[in-house]
Every structure is written in structure tokens, then in C-alpha cells.
Amino acid sequence: MNAKSDVIIIGGGLMGLSTALHLGRRGIKAVVLEKASPGRHASGVNAGGLRQLNRHIAEIPLTVAAAEIWKNIRELVDDDCDVVLNGQVRVAESDAQLQKLQARVDAVKAQGYQHEQIIDSETLYRLVPRLVGGCVGALYNPDDGSARPFHAATAFRHKAIALGAEIRSGVEVLAIEESNDGWKLDTNQGVFSAANVVNCAGAWANCFAAMLGESVPLTPKAPTLMVTERLPPFLDLTVGAEGYQLSFKQMQNGTVIIGGAHLAKLDFEREQSVIDFATLKTSAQTVTRFFPHMAQVRIVRSWAGIEGFMPDNIPVIGKSAKAAGIFHAFGFSAHGFQLSPIVGRILSELILDGKTDLPIEPFDIRRFNESES
């Protein structure tokens, strides 16, 4: 097999699929090479949180733009991806914590954004009636929510295909090399070549950056989620808590998803993770602290997904600093699901227009390279 195309995307997670979709909207038929199946890794197994709240300041323009897309996601992918936007709170137990959250709101406002606000305890208990007593208030965004990740990945895939993208499962890229007229990709299914290559290989992305001489400190880790049996509806919002690793929400099917970036032990080579129940014990304690009525509820399953983390917990997005025709988007540090529709658009603009209107300087791959900056 030796196929030549305009754009090859490595990785059939949401970043790759979204990029293919946005390219398709502009008439470019990209080829996505995915070593497993689309959505097999982080994109299909994440918590589906659509959170703008409490993000790194640098991510705010992107997250706000992404939120606009999620609101009308059907327009992009012909499917509602089970999006529910009932809001998210980050609870404070003490006045000191609330002050810290207030400072956060001020910083966000200083950037010209209004989506985060402080609510008092009365409003908080109206929104989250089953929350344990004694909380003093919360950081709140009424427009946050969640979607079903595997449904979203499926919808993005179908739409990308409808717009002309070709998605190849079971194709593992082994090496990337410059050739006369672009790039040559060695795979387990033969050689592919293209003028442009997009590196959306998630937790595996650094190996391609390294092949191009711009290795970055990406660490693969395995955040864990737990899901409970179905419960009668008791919670509309997603709940986090200042000072705790907690992400807590009830899905429309009644199950409760409990996250908070508690890590499993990861064997990256074999792509196997071992759930660490001693760590999840802390997670369960946090849940019973904030929602005592959950004590007798059964955990039905736990799982971990493999995600790439950067030291500063914000991604790498942009052109390669070393090689023309290469683009990166990885290292989303466990909060890339929400960003995926906008990241695909940004990459399509970089490829086709050479620039984007969104401020992506903070995500430059060179930021880890002290000698160059």
C-alpha cells in the first residue's frame, strides 16, 4: 500500500476526528490512521465533562469558543451527542476557600470573560439539594454540562466520513520521515504519504514529536472513573469541590459517574492499567463527605483511560517548530474532551490558512525548550 494524500492525521481520538471533520467542511479529504479503533482510548472512555469552570487562564478563549459549539453540536455533527447543559459548581467549605474562588472570578473577568460567578450557599443548596450541610458557596457556571463521550466520538466519526474523510482502523504509524514532496509514514499496513501530517496521537504523541527532534515532557497517566448503579434522579449539575479531587455527576440514565483524576497504575507498553483501590478509597471518602446519602450505593464498575499529561497541565497545539507541514495537538491533561470541537477547527485553519484567530501562543511546543525561548 502506498497512498498519497493532502493531510494525514495520526490518531482517531476526538482531536483527530474533529480535525478531519473541520477539514472536510472546507473540502479537504483527510486520512485518519488509528492503531486501534476510533475512540478506543481517552476520547471514548472519559467522563464526558463539558467544563469551562476553573480552567487555566490560557485555555479560556478556547474553552468558551468550544462551549458555543457544544451548545449547538447538532449543527456540526448531525447528532446531539447526549449533551446536557445544567451547570457545574465548585463547592467551598470555608470562607477562605470562597475568597480564593472569588479571586479566580476576578482574574477571569480581567480577561474580559463573564462565564464564571460566585453563588451563595442558599443558591447552592437550591441547585444541589442533596449536598451535605455547611458549605458556604461555590464557583458556578450555568452553561457547563456533559455529553456521552463514545456517542460524541461516533458522531464526529460519522460526520467526518460523510464529509469525505477516510478513517483507517488498525493502522499503526511506526515512523515518520521527510520525503521529496512532503512526509512518508511507515505503518504496519504499508507506507502512506502526505503533504501535511497532524499528530493527534494522544498519550503516544511524544514519540512522533521526538522523531522530529522536538521531544516534550509528556507523561502518560491513567485517570480512573467509577460508575454506580442507577439511582432515582437527584442531581442535575456536575459537582466539584475546592481542595478535593472530585468530579461528581448523575447521568440521564440514573448512574453516577465519579472522577477526580485519581490515577491507576499504568503499564504503558502493554496498554494495561491496574485500578488502585487504595487511591479510590480517598475518592469514596470524598463522595460520602459531600453526599452522605451515597453511602449504600453500589459501585458497578471502574475503569481507567490513557491520557497524555504536560507538566503545566495545558496542551501542545500548533505548528511544529522544526518541520514544515507538521502540526501537533496533544497533552490535554485530562480535560481535552470539551476542547475537541475547537481544536479541530484551529488545526484545520493552521493547515489551510496558516493561522488562526484564537490565541494559541501559550500552547507552543517550544515552551519546554529553555535554550530556545
Binding site: 448503579e229 442507577r230 432515582p232 440521564q252 440514573g254 449504600q296 453500589r298
Partner: protein, 100 residues
């Protein structure tokens, strides 16, 4: 009419339990699911999705059809729990329907 009956055996010891608030007898050592069937009940819960009635299916802990409320705690596997004197058992009828 009950679907199951007890074999007549010597030295049966009985314990008193309550099913949906009604006092009844079960045999010492019975699983809760067996006690429900022996009491003539044909279903123990309704499916939270369609509302259809369900009853114990495997009796060995693998199907999770036998979920009932035991002493105030819902969703317990009744085929894996042994009856105790004074145990309060409730069938889970009509709870939590209408999920997507």
C-alpha cells in the same frame, strides 16, 4: 398459587421475616430469594427501564435479577443473602422509571 412448594422434611427450623410488611415464615438457611419464592411471590422487582416485572433467574449470584430491599438497603442480591429472624424484605416495585 405458588410455583414452588417445600419438600416435607423432619426438623425444619423456621425464622420469622417480613415481606412487604407482612409477617411470614422462612426456613432457617434459606436465601432471601428462596424465601420469596416459597412465600408464593412470582416477581421481586420491576425493571427500572421498562417497568416489566422480574424474578430471580440464576440463584447463583450472576444475573442480578433478584434485587430487593433488605433491612432498608435497596438493590441487594437476594439469592446470596441468608434470611435472619426479623428481616424486613421489600420488593422493588415501580421504583425509578423513565431513564433515557
Amino acid at each position: 398459587m405458588p410455583v414452588f412448594r417445600r419438600l416435607e422434611e423432619a426438623d425444619i427450623r423456621w425464622v420469622e421475616i417480613q415481606i412487604d410488611g407482612q409477617t411470614t415464615q422462612a426456613r432457617e438457611g434459606d436465601s432471601v430469594a428462596a424465601a420469596l419464592l416459597a412465600a408464593g411471590l412470582r416477581s421481586c422487582r420491576t425493571s427500572p427501564i421498562s417497568g416489566a416485572p422480574r424474578a430471580p433467574f440464576c440463584m447463583m449470584g450472576v444475573c442480578y435479577e433478584c434485587l430487593v430491599e433488605v433491612d432498608g438497603i435497596p438493590n441487594r442480591q437476594s439469592c446470596q443473602i441468608t434470611v435472619q429472624e426479623g428481616m424486613q424484605i421489600r420488593r422493588q416495585i415501580g421504583t425509578a422509571k423513565g431513564y433515557r
